[in-house]
Structure formats: C-alpha cells, structure tokens
C-alpha cells in the first residue's frame, strides 16, 4: 500500500482553498545574533539552553495554484485583495502571534524574532494567504475579511527542553530486573514500558550497569555525553513508538484520547506525521489510517519517520562519530 493509494478523509472548507498553496523557506537562523546551522527539512532544533532571541529569515513562496482561492479577476491582482501572514503558535505557552508580510510577486520575504521566554516545546510557524477585507465574490469563493485562502506545511522550532519536564507524561524508574518476579526471566531486556495506568511507567534495567552509568552521565561534552544522546534516542524511539500506538488505539471515533499522556503524545507527533496537513485535519487523517487494517503498516512507517525527525537521530550519531574519532 503506497501513500498515493491511501483513502483520505479530509475536512473541506466550504469555499475554494489551497491547502498546499504556500511554502515556508528558512534561509538563515541566528541565536542572539550568532549564526545557527539549519537542520534539513522543515524543522529547527535549538540545543543551546541559554538564549534570549531566535531570529529566522526566509521567504513564504506562492506555489503553483496558490491563488485558486481567489476568483479569476482577483488572481491577476492578489496584492490588492489578500495578505500573506505568518502565524506563530506555541501550544504549551498558549502563544499566538500573527505577522503580516508584504505580498510581492511570487511571495514575501520575512524576518521573524522569537523570544525564548514566550516559548516551551514545539513552536509552529504557519503560512496563510488571507482575504484582507470583505468583498462580494461569486459563489464558491470566500468573501469574508480574514477568510483563509491558502496555507502550506508549517516550519517547526524545537527549543531546548529542561530535564525536569521529562517525566511529565512518563514516569522513569531504574529497577533491577533480576530482582523482579516477572522481569527476571528477561535479563537481556534494557527496558519495559507499562501503558495501562494514568501515567505510563518506563522501567530501565539497572542490572546493565555500564548502560545506566552512561544514561546518568551529567556532562554536556565528551564521549559519554554523546553516547548518552544516542542511547536516549534508541530507547526513546522504541518507547515513543509504543506510546504512540497505544494512544492511537485508545482514541474514540471523534479523536478524543481518554488520558492526558495520550493527548500529549499525539500533540507532539501529529505535526511530524502529517506535515502537509493543516492542524485541524491531522486527527482526521490519523483516524482514517486507523480505520483500515490495510493502512496499519503505513501508520507504523509514518510513525518511524516522524520519530527519526523528532529525535534528531542522525545529528546525534554524527556527533558521536566526530567525538569518537577525536578521542582516538
């Protein structure tokens, strides 16, 4: 089953709208004035813990068909009737801010400043083409002021997370599997995840002392710090997959999750699973995939892709390689 064969259940707006009409291109990023290397794709991870302001510079581009939300006579003069907006949204801090851009020709350039003190967790930057003022338009077109005409995939920023937040949706405990009546039969296991309760519990096997020593390493530089990053990624990938599938299974037909941690897991991963879909439609896409057993492998594949991007695995492995080479 390929992506093109998927049966999609999408929410359509009651007027012409181009959901893939815009794209956000970030050309440069700087942290308190110092240049920051860009990640590949449509996300940026900020590893520094202390900073005040992140500046992104780039452009919002109109793709082919971007003006399909406008009646024919307005398509030749979009700058007179519509504006481009970048809307910044951070769910954890309830932060929303709109930035109007000057629409010129095929798009608009932007420079966007994000203050660290307003942000926690993922920050989404979403492009919109919006009708400027109310107009009388032919049937099938949006004529209201502020009406959505086109959007596109969002750009995501991941600020560094303090360690104290790590246990919000997951309780992590170190236990000796050898001393546990059930787990002692599986001494080869590194971890065991329980998802039945109000909060999932991750038990890490303390019998693997060398692994635990690396996981507990406090430093930010050196071989152990780089190993720790990769170890965490490996464990996280397995654990997040299990949490995700468990959360998907628990959803009711309206997309409501019975537990807060399930909501949290889906909020975190859905933007990666469906990067091209507007936020309001991601749950519909997920439910459509879940509804058909033939799509379950596709769901697992997309989850794996999402996790590889979310966890920044390649970056951490490359750092480990560089550090290991340097220490030879």
């Amino acid at each position: 089953m390929t992506a093109s064969q998927r049966v999609k259940r999408e929410r359509f707006l009651p007027f012409a709208f181009e959901r893939h009409g815009l794209s956000v291109r970030v050309d440069s990023a700087s942290l308190d004035g110092a240049s920051l290397p860009l990640d590949e794709g449509d996300a940026l991870h900020v590893d520094d813990e202390e900073w005040r302001e992140l500046t992104l510079a780039g452009a919002v581009e109109l793709r082919k068909g971007a003006l399909g939300g406008l009646p024919g006579d307005e398509r030749v003069r979009p700058g007179e009737v519509a504006d481009l907006w970048l809307v910044v949204q951070c769910d954890r801090t309830a932060w929303r801010a709109g930035h109007r851009l000057e629409l010129e020709g095929e798009g608009a350039k932007f420079e966007l400043s994000l203050e660290r003190d307003r942000l926690a967790g993922v920050v989404e930057v979403v492009p919109w083409l919006v009708r400027r003022r109310s107009e009388k338009v032919p049937p099938g077109y949006a004529g209201a002021a502020g009406a959505r005409l086109a959007t596109g995939a969002r750009f995501a920023v991941y600020p560094h997370e303090p360690a104290s937040r790590a246990g919000e949706f997951l309780e992590v405990v170190y236990v000796s599997f050898g001393a546990d009546a059930v787990l002692s039969t599986q001494p080869w296991r590194l971890y065991h995840l329980e998802t039945h309760g109000e909060t999932p519990v991750l038990r890490i096997n303390a019998d693997h002392q060398d692994v635990v020593r690396v996981l507990d390493a406090k430093g930010q530089t050196g071989l152990e710090a780089r190993l720790r990053e990769v170890f965490y990624d490996l464990i996280s990938r397995g654990v997040w997959s299990l949490l995700f599938m468990s959360a998907v299974e628990a959803l009711d037909e309206d997309g409501n999750a019975p537990r807060r941690w399930q909501e949290g897991v889906l909020t975190e991963l859905l933007p990666f699973l469906f990067p091209g879909a507007p936020k309001a439609e991601r749950m519909d896409e997920l439910l459509a995939l879940r509804a058909d057993e033939a799509h379950l492998s596709l769901l697992a594949t997309q989850c794996d892709e999402a996790l590889q991007q979310r966890l920044d695995l390649v970056k951490h492995i490359n750092r480990l390689i560089d550090t290991a080479r340097g220490s030879r």
């Binding site: 707006l13 009651p14 007027f15 504006d83 907006w85 809307v87 949204q89 954890r92 801090t93 309830a94 932060w95 929303r96 801010a97 709109g98 109007r100 660290r116 003190d117 307003r118 942000l119 926690a120 967790g121 919109w128 919006v130 400027r132 949006a142 209201a144 002021a145 502020g146 009406a147 959505r148 303090p162 104290s164 937040r165 246990g167 919000e168 309780e171 109000e198 909060t199 807060r260 309001a280």
Partner: protein
C-alpha cells in the same frame, strides 16, 4: 522566607482524598523533598502568600467572585515568563504542598475526581489546577497592568468555563471581543455562541482581523 519550587510528576500520589478534604491540612515540606526541585531562579513567595491570604479573608468559602481577585493577585505576585509558567510542576507545588487550603477555600469538596484535577491538571480549563488557571487566565486577559478584562471574564461562570477551554482564548483581541459581548449573556447562550464562533474562526485567521471584525463575528455567532 518560602521560595517557589517545582513538584515533580513522581508526586502524583500526594493528591489524596484526605488532602482534598482537608483531613491532611498540608504536607511537611521535608517529607515531600524527594519530589521537589528548586525553581530555575530564586522567587520568594512572601508577597504571593500575603496577597492570596488577603483575597481569602475577604471572600467566603466557595464564593466564585473570588476568581477575578485571586487571578489578579496570583499574576501580579508571580512575575513569570510564559516559558516558566508552562511547567505544571510549579502550580502543583503551590496547590499540593504550599497552599492547599486556598484550593479548598475556593471549591467545596463534591467529588474526588474533580477535586483531584484542581490540584494536578495543568491549564485553564474550569477543573484545572487552581493557581495555574488563575495565573493563565490573567495572562491571557491582562493589558498593560489593567486586569479589568480578567475580572469581567472570570465574573461569568459560563464564560470562563467555555472560553478558556478553547484555543481561541489564546488570541487577546478575540478574548476581548468575547468578553465585551458575552459577559452578561445567559449560560446556554454563551456555550452555543462560543461553539459556533470556534467553527467560524476555523475558516478565518483571527490574527488578520481587526477589533470591529472580531466583534462582528462574535455577534454573528450569537445570532
């Protein structure tokens, strides 16, 4: 003087029926030490304690009119950035360890299920952690030290319940339009209007709309 701390997720078991009922008035700080860490900077709670106590003293137990005063007091005294306030651990520390009697003073015990969330759940929903809800509603409604919108929004039980459980409350001009038009509306009217408004905003970009357009939209949603 007490300092703000962060209560870790491992402290979930501390939210007991005994704490919610006041049989356990408060926990000994030393006894919960293993579940707390220092807040990332020094923030003394003296001013916060005085202000919260003053609001309690001037309102009877269960009086919902204390919400506006409490929101202003908590927000004025806890000068936090949104990033800092996004950590549920600080609100849990305040409600479960530092001032549990404030939660009990505001809400009469009716069921443990609801009372439990008023100590633990982060956010602005009507059943969220009391301090978290007061601070965040004030943050979403204050304008240059003017808390009049905060008081009006929390003065209507229906409005505060239905408005702050929706993402449209994250946009200050939208909140202001809702409060101006719906503060005195009947509960059923408020609930229906906000449901319709949510759908209407799903077709628009609120950030691209001016005050008059937003107020017009709220009126149209009210029908």
């Amino acid at each position: 003087m007490s300092r703000l701390k962060v209560l870790l997720p491992s402290a979930r078991h501390l939210v007991t029926e005994e704490l919610a009922r006041g049989v356990v008035e408060r926990y000994d700080e030393a006894a919960v030490g293993e579940h707390t860490v220092d807040f990332e900077r020094r923030l003394d709670l003296g001013g916060f304690d005085d202000a919260v106590s003053a609001v309690m003293a001037s309102h009877d137990a269960g009086d919902l009119s204390m919400d506006g005063a409490m929101a202003e007091a908590v927000h004025r005294q806890l000068r936090l950035s949104r990033r800092e306030a996004a950590d549920p651990g600080i609100w849990r520390y305040l409600a479960i360890v530092h001032r549990p009697e404030v939660v009990r003073h505001r809400w009469e015990y009716r069921s443990f299920a609801t009372m439990r969330t008023r100590f633990w759940r982060h956010g602005t929903r009507f059943d969220a952690n009391a301090f978290s809800r007061w601070w965040w509603v004030a943050e979403l409604t204050v304008m240059a030290e003017d808390y009049s919108l905060t008081h009006r929004a929390l003065g209507s039980s229906a409005l505060s319940t239905h408005l702050f459980s929706r993402q449209l409350a994250w946009h200050h001009p939208t909140v202001a339009a809702c409060v101006r038009i719906l503060a005195d509306a009947p509960g059923a009217d408020v609930e229906r209007t906000l449901r319709v408004l949510g759908k209407m905003l799903g077709l628009r970009v609120a950030e691209a709309m001016g005050r008059e357009e937003l107020e017009g939209l709220v009126r149209a949603a009210r029908g």
